[in-house]
């Protein structure tokens, strides 16, 4: 552990940018985007500097800490605003600021015609700051701040064009579903404090060694819920597709490369908990496996290019979650896939944005076709990302996905075979739906609507795509060369013992490549070499129909949670008015009614009153008579 004094600036720079841009108002319209980009880039530079500092030290000393101030301190509950930059965080820092800066550059051009571009950049900077806080916080509570911060930024960015009611609804949906996950994180922190007495990563790690399995399982499951919410994992995945309402750069940065992977970060960061809680770990694997198939199935049926990519993201994060659930063998691989995915998926989203830019914001792939000729750079960069994601060697995705499949098979026993098969099946599906996207968009015959003049995007847009494409090509090789990333992360995740290999490495690679070929071939046959309808055909199998409806995820949520919730709300509103307040009003009405009844005795006739007095005297004297008896 080494103390540092400069970690705070990593967060402060983009945060300052966001505040300045928001407060300055229209005055900053001219230069706001430049400032934001510069600040994001300088944060990236600072990250590189930290990396260089880190490299100078021994592996065990590469964790930097910084205590900014004491944040909350009550009794034994002491949380510092403390930062922790270790080998795991630095990966994220560089990914966030690096991809983030590229996307800032891209957005300068992409958003140039939007009157609210300054606001957009303010949100982007806010996102960068929050995401950095998420990965740099040294305790679960600090992470929580970043966690909700990115949720807020995501909400603002999805709803950036919230004048469209559907987009506003999408942003709300994302926020609320994220909040369910956040609740899990809250529970995890509460359990950690109540049972372990601390909420810092270091503290929990130390305490977890002597903690009971039940405690750790509880914390682990809660963390999993949190991760599922943020990373769009089953069963909290429904928001991601709608989140594509945001501008495409947002989808690339937040809903592909960085924010949605925060769940994987949380699980890998909490490796010491999951290692000691096998039940929780098993649940992680199950969630990952289910999501990976779930997302892939949805991806096969989507005609909206962004939604197809979103489904793919869901599926790929399923891979990562699955890997993270495989224990020490999988953490580093999950991170590796996360990083490579960050490159190629961001690149592909930017490519999709570029396509939309040239096609008047058309997102329906059935209205694309033959765009490769008109957008060569987009075509090539997107294609490189495509090759990476389906896992064609030697592109990045091949290395990381291959490792996941291998580790899954090596998990041992029936579990291993089952998981391995699922990952392989996922690879087939991935190859299929990505090929479908590729073919429908770039290589198949054109099916444009009228008045379309596709054109290549300006340099500010294609430059980031090129950089990301280079990343998609090279990172896999770089990370695996000599197990570089695995060794780099070893101080965080610990060394893992050798597993008995169920299948040799080469067999797995061969299987994976076969899967890719199968999936890609089907797609090619179906879309490249046969006619594609410009309108989505109605006579399709039930599976396709289900996949188009996102496997009924929304219907499920609506019928199980939303409608009963609405009914409950209506009942409660009525009940509050009629029952609770009704009781109160009844008291009032009783008083009024009693008054009205008693008023009848007030006839206004003095003689009636005197009769009453007489009766009163009678009662009185009768009382005396009875008492003195």
């Amino acid at each position: 552990m080494t103390t540092s004094t400069s970690l705070g600036y990593l967060i402060a720079l983009p945060l300052a940018g966001s505040i300045i841009l928001l407060l300055a108002g229209r005055k900053a319209d001219k230069w706001g985007h430049l400032l934001a980009t510069a600040l994001s880039a300088s944060s990236f530079g600072l990250g590189l500097y930290q990396l260089s500092q880190m490299l100078r030290l021994e592996p065990e000393e590469r964790a930097f800490t910084q205590k900014l101030f004491s944040w909350i301190s009550v009794g034994t509950f002491n949380v510092d605003a403390g930062l922790l930059l270790d080998q795991l965080s630095i990966c994220f820092v560089l990914l966030i600021t690096g991809v983030g800066t590229l996307i800032h550059i891209y957005s300068i051009s992409y958003m140039s015609h939007d009157r609210d571009r300054r606001r957009f950049f303010a949100y982007l900077n806010l996102f960068i700051a929050a995401m950095l806080l998420l990965v740099l916080g040294d305790s679960y509570l600090n992470l929580y701040v970043g966690w909700e911060g990115v949720g807020l930024a995501s909400y603002l960015l999805i709803g950036f064009w919230n004048q469209k009611p559907a987009y506003a609804t999408a942003s709300k949906k994302a926020f609320v579903m994220n909040r369910i996950g956040d609740m899990g994180l809250s529970f995890a922190i509460m359990i950690a404090f109540a049972t372990l007495g601390t909420v810092t990563f270091a503290g929990v790690k130390e305490a977890s060694e002597s903690a009971s399995t039940a405690t750790l399982t509880g914390i682990g499951i809660m963390l999993l819920i949190a991760a599922a919410g943020k990373s769009a994992q089953f069963p909290l995945q429904a928001w991601l597709g709608d989140a594509m309402a945001g501008p495409t750069p947002v989808s690339a940065l937040i809903h592909a490369a960085t924010m949605v992977t925060a769940g994987v970060y949380l699980i890998t960061r909490s490796n010491f908990i999951f290692d000691a809680a096998p039940t929780a770990q098993l649940l992680v694997v199950i969630v990952g496996a289910v999501t990976l198939i779930f997302g892939a199935l949805i991806g096969t049926a989507k005609d909206d290019i962004k939604k197809a990519l979103a489904a793919s993201t869901m599926s790929q994060i399923g891979y990562m979650t699955l890997a993270a659930g495989l224990g020490p063998a999988g953490y580093a691989i999950a991170i590796m896939h996360l990083l490579t995915h960050g490159f190629f998926k961001a690149g592909m989203f930017l490519g999709a944005g570029s396509v939309m830019h040239g096609m008047k914001d058309q997102v329906n792939m059935r209205r694309y076709g033959a765009l490769g000729k008109f957008m060569p750079i987009t075509f090539v960069t997107f294609g490189l990302g495509y090759l990476a994601i389906i896992g064609v060697p030697p592109f990045a995705g091949f290395y990381s996905k291959d490792l996941i499949i291998e580790t899954a098979f090596n998990a041992g026993g029936v579990k291993g075979i089952l998981l391995g098969s699922m990952t392989l099946f996922g690879a087939i599906l991935t190859a299929f739906y990505m090929t479908r996207v590729m073919v429908l968009t770039f290589t198949s015959p054109e099916r444009w609507e009228e008045d379309q003049h596709p054109h290549e995007s300006p340099i500010l847009m294609w430059l980031p795509m090129v950089v990301l494409a280079i990343g998609s090509v090279t990172t896999g090789y770089l990370f695996t060369r000599g197990d570089a990333l695995v060794h780099w992360l070893e101080p965080v995740f610990g060394e893992h013992g050798e597993h008995t290999e169920l299948l040799p490495h080469k067999v797995v690679s061969a299987l994976a490549i076969t899967a890719v070929i199968i999936g890609a071939s089907i797609a090619l046959v179906k879309y490249q070499f046969s006619e594609v309808d410009a309108e989505a055909p109605n006579k399709v199998s039930i599976l396709t129909r289900l996949a188009r409806k996102d496997l009924l995820q929304d219907s499920f949520n609506e019928s199980v949670f939303m409608r009963p919730g609405q009914v409950l709300t209506r009942w409660l509103v009525k009940g509050d008015d009629n029952v609770v307040d009704g009781t109160v009003r009844l008291v009032g009405r009783t008083a009024l009614g009693a008054g009205a009844e008693l008023r009848r005795t007030q006839t206004g006739f003095a003689r009636s009153y005197s009769a009453l007095i007489l009766i009163g005297a009678l009662v009185l004297i009768a009382g005396i008579w009875v008492i003195t008896q």
Binding site: T603, F605, R607, L614, L618, I621, A622, W625, T628
Partner: protein, 256 residues
């Protein structure tokens, strides 16, 4: 208990039933004047009882103040107000009378029962000792020593009441009283000229003071406006028909 032992007992058993009957009569008679007279009788009996019980001063005061002053005041007001035509004994508030009588019977019964139960168990002390210096002197002693403060307060109350009664009874005119001229003009300007010559005067027959006999209209019917409304209300109006020739007693009596 009922053996007649002393003159006081004789007096009591004679006067007490009479006073109760008089009190009951107060409730039952129709005319307020009769009620007042019966009440006066009750008060006089009470004064006698006071004197019989060695309360000479109170007995005298009872007669002088109550029977003399207060009852006269009542009668005076009765005359002022006149006899209300609505002064019937039929009840207008439903169910009031049975309720009142039941309650009163119960109340009186219980009261009497209580008194019979609450006897002190010893003979009356009598006022011989207290009245040794004379009843008036004894009272004066008390009144101007122990009770001097209440005495002063009560006197203040009396003055206040007198002033209050004056203020209440004093009628402030809100508009100036119309002059004769104005009244005359008003009569001529009214709807008909019938009243222009003033109201008809009563008493067309000289053999009676005639204030209570209405004048006759040309068609021979009685003119209601010719006599006082109070007389009419009191039922003291005489039918003018009874003075028609055929009805008149023709026998001439000698007037001395």
């Amino acid at each position: 208990m009922l053996e007649i032992q002393t003159p006081e007992a004789v007096m009591f058993w004679v006067l007490a039933p009479l006073s109760v009957i008089a009190a009951l009569g107060m409730l039952l008679v129709k005319k307020a004047v009769h009620s007042a007279l019966l009440l006066a009788w009750v008060m006089v009996t009470l004064a006698i009882f006071y004197i019989a019980q060695d309360a000479l001063f109170l007995g005298i005061v009872q007669i002088v103040v109550y029977t003399g002053a207060v009852m006269m005041l009542f009668l005076f007001i009765l005359m002022l107000v006149g006899v209300d035509a609505s002064d019937s004994l039929t009840e207008t508030i439903a169910g009031l009378r049975p309720i009142a009588i039941t309650a009163a019977v119960g109340f009186g019964g219980l009261f009497v029962a209580l008194i019979s139960r609450a006897t002190l168990g010893r003979e009356a002390v009598g006022l011989q000792a207290a009245n040794a210096d004379g009843n008036v002197q004894g009272l004066a002693q008390k009144l101007f020593s122990t009770y001097v403060w209440p005495f002063e307060v009560v006197s203040a109350l009396l003055i206040t009441a007198a002033l209050g009664a004056m203020v209440l009874a004093h009628h402030q005119r809100s508009v100036a009283r119309p002059t004769q001229r104005q009244q005359s003009i008003a009569r001529f300007r009214s709807g008909s000229l019938a009243g222009a010559a003033g109201l008809p005067s009563p008493g067309v027959f000289a053999r009676h003071n005639a204030v209570d006999v209405p004048a006759l209209l040309p068609d021979g019917s009685a003119a209601p406006t010719s006599i006082s409304a109070t007389l009419k209300a009191r039922g003291d109006m005489l039918e003018s028909r009874s003075f028609e020739l055929g009805e008149v007693d023709n026998t001439v009596t000698e007037e001395k």
